[in-house]
Amino acid sequence: MTLAELLPALHGLPKCEKLRAIQLLAADVAREDGEMLVPSEAAYPVWSPFDAFDGAATLMRMLNDEKAS
């Protein structure tokens, strides 16, 4: 399929899907170039309990208690 054939369909897309198409194509091109784009609309959950120091101390105590018993 050529670009000329695709264009009418692309023009007919709603605005949000046009933006999505732009992002997907940009990511494709970047990937081919060995680069990487991070799509801005995606969610990137960060689950790391990076500051659970109390919790870590509790687990250490549990391990030590179990070792001692």
């Binding site: 990511a27 990937r31 990487m36 784009l37 991070v38 799509p39 995606a42 959950p45 960060v46 689950w47 790391s48 309990p49 990076f50 500051d51 659970a52 120091f53 109390d54 919790g55 870590a56 509790t58 687990l59 250490m60 549990m62 391990l63 179990e66």
Partner: protein, 140 residues
């Protein structure tokens, strides 16, 4: 000898942007076991276990008496301490203490306490692999 694992792309649409170091690990509690993918997370202060994995291992929530305070995105999630054995293929099982969470919205997280105390980890994200070895056996 370290064991090498590939990064796992969690979302095919995002490809390498979604690549994370998930290690296959078997968790044991008594005579029950569960084979899971654990996220190797150096940014986590502790190991975290989703609720259903604990249930699969036969753990009983009401019998776990030690509350564990979580942090980060899951700071509001209730958790209790649970000590298991964890075994990576080819290595001896080790005791791993988990914050057993009430939530299933999180993966198994292998964090600083105490996964990183038992294993040395080398992350080679640019080459899409990571290596794990029993503590003190990676080059010093």
């Amino acid at each position: 000898m370290p064991k090498r694992f590939p990064y796992v792309e969690a979302d095919p649409m995002l490809g390498p942007a979604s690549a994370l170091p998930y290690a296959p690990i078997t968790l044991h509690l008594g005579d029950r076991s569960a084979h899971v993918s654990g996220l190797i997370d150096s940014g986590s202060t502790l190991n975290v276990l989703p609720f259903d994995v604990g249930i699969q291992l036969g753990a009983v929530w009401d019998e776990q008496s030690v509350p564990v305070r979580l942090g980060g995105n899951i700071v509001e999630t209730e958790a209790r301490g649970l000590v298991l054995f964890g075994q990576l293929e080819g290595f001896s099982p080790v005791r791993l203490a988990f914050a057993w969470s009430r939530s299933n919205r999180i993966p198994v997280i292998l964090g600083q306490t105490n996964f990183f105390l038992e294993f040395d980890v080398r992350l080679c994200r640019s080459q899409m692999f990571f290596e794990i070895a029993p503590r003190s056996s990676l080059g010093s």
